[in-house]
Symmetry: C2
Subunit: 329 residues, 2 copies
């Protein structure tokens, strides 16, 4: 992540004014954005644009802000739906204000994302609007698939290929926005379709690796570097790649034990974590997950290799991919 | 409202397929749209387009569907925020499904609205996207102003010009989408800016008249033709034009009586309605509201007169304005 990209994004975010009327609509947007985050999506858009010879112009700025705003909109509404009280170390919008404020400010945040596309030059606008719409649709579908999966019992997931369904879900919910950010950066550099597609493929694989790493750190992360409390997914009985992987490879006895442990509301958080982790360990779930992350990281790098650009220029994206699949936070 | 316009809109809505996966995301969108409604906004877009010599092409279809979808998105999310259990004679989405489904399907519905703009010809797209964004922003601001007003006590509205605030609120919440629909129709006919502006002004005035008529029918409507139960606003203690008008013109004694009656939770619905209506009657609130509706209707027709088009061709819009300000339903 080059310094100049961070500076661009920081300065664009700083130039936004959220002290607008009515205050109850705009203050939660400012509150959400000032909490920071890694600005991964606009950074990827800028990196992909630079790789293919683009300039940081009004179109690039508009699209970069649009993906950042859209991402934050999804966090705002997801937190309401998931009843998540904290985000980036602070109360979420629905906790700090209320549900209605979170719903309406989230709506306005999505509109603000689309409004940043007004800055895109007319020659690129039809394509950018089309790609943005595809991305937005996929992200909502991913969130719905996630909610559908959460309302199913673990035993119900047995009847079909739950891991494939899970990958489809995180591809849309997480990988799409990463992949489309890269594609938008390429399109705005006037890239060939094959290069835009390769960067999109890079982004999908990278996004999948990123989410699986997230799933793994929740169980095997170092509490010192992870930032969040370890074992949150297990405490909530959330179905992650690790859960499904364990379930698929377990014998009937282990399956029953996994389900009863995850659904046992009388267990302490620590006991539940210890028992589930022990099951994961005996089923080599960590190793299988790491292999899958490596597979997606390799796929990502292969896609990046196929982009028709100077290998030297690909270094920042290559490094970012490596950092993302090795991260401990 | 000409028959051919209705047929176009009907056929476009019928051509949409909401039996898509994931079902829990798309079924509520289909459910909302199949309940019907008057399709006022796409109809106005088609009428304005026809008035200025436009053809019913892909751009017009895309924009017409976009405003209809956006309108229905606002109903879906507003019903969650207002906890409204019924809409068009059926349970609302959050009642039939749940809050999360209503939030996420609403989000997708707004995205679908924007996606219909992908059908707009490139030459018109920058302007159409800009206008749509302005409209969407205004509608959310209007909903926020409405919620802000509802959380204030009636006595608090005393300190500034509550009626002006109310007009600002309904201008954004209700009139914007009507006015922008007309403007989009004009723009897509390649209209002069002055004509687009005049039709926009027509729409704002028409929208204000429409909302005030709504407020009045809730108190003075004929139960046989109104469709909804009379007195709903009074039962909910909602601040409408009539309430604010009464409050502004009341003497201190009447003010106190109005506030205590509206806030009295021990009164029966009928008693509350009777007492408030009696106060309205003694303060000539009906007459003042009718005068205001007439004022806005006249303003609308004056704006329509100024449009540079054959007077004969303006007849459908003129009739629609007359019907809207005389309607009893």
């Amino acid at each position: 992540m080059s310094d100049s990209n961070s500076e661009y994004i920081r300065s664009w975010l700083d130039a936004e004014n959220w002290q607008r009327f009515p205050e109850n609509l705009y203050a939660p947007i400012g509150y959400t954005l000032e909490a920071g985050g890694k600005h991964l999506r606009p950074t990827l858009l800028l990196m992909s644009n630079a790789l293919l010879g683009g300039n940081v112009n009004a179109s690039v700025r508009g699209a970069a802000m649009a993906v950042e705003l859209f991402h934050n909109f999804t966090l705002l509404h997801d937190d309401v739906m998931d009843r998540a009280p904290m985000r980036r170390g602070r109360p979420t919008v629905y906790k700090r204000w209320n549900d209605n404020t979170a719903i309406l400010s989230g709506d306005q945040m999505m509109i603000e994302a689309y409004r940043r596309l007004e800055q895109v030059e007319p020659q690129y606008l039809p394509e950018v609007l089309r790609l943005f719409g595809q991305m937005a649709t996929g992200v909502c579908e991913g969130q719905q698939l996630d909610m559908d999966m959460e309302t199913m019992r673990l035993t119900e997931l047995n009847r079909r290929n739950a891991i494939d369904d899970y990958i489809t879900m995180i591809e849309r919910k997480t990988a799409y926005l990463i992949a489309y950010s890269l594609r938008l950066g390429a399109v705005l550099a006037g890239a060939e379709e094959s290069d835009s597609q390769a960067l999109y493929d890079f982004g999908i694989a990278l996004g999948l690796a990123f989410q699986l790493q997230d799933d793994m750190l929740d169980v095997y992360g170092d509490p010192k570097t992870f930032g969040k409390q370890i074992g949150g997914d297990i405490a909530e009985g959330k179905k992650t790649f690790l859960t499904l992987c364990a379930y698929q490879n377990a014998n009937p006895e282990q399956k029953a034990l996994l389900v009863s442990t995850l659904e046992d509301s009388t267990l302490s958080r620590q006991d539940k974590y210890d028992r589930v982790r022990q099951l994961y360990d005996s089923l080599h779930v960590r190793q299988m997950t790491e292999e899958k992350i490596q597979y997606y990281t390799d796929s990502a790098l292969k896609a990046l290799d196929s982009v028709n650009a100077d290998a030297e220029l690909k270094q920042p994206l290559r490094q970012l991919a490596a950092r993302m699949s090795e991260r401990q936070y």
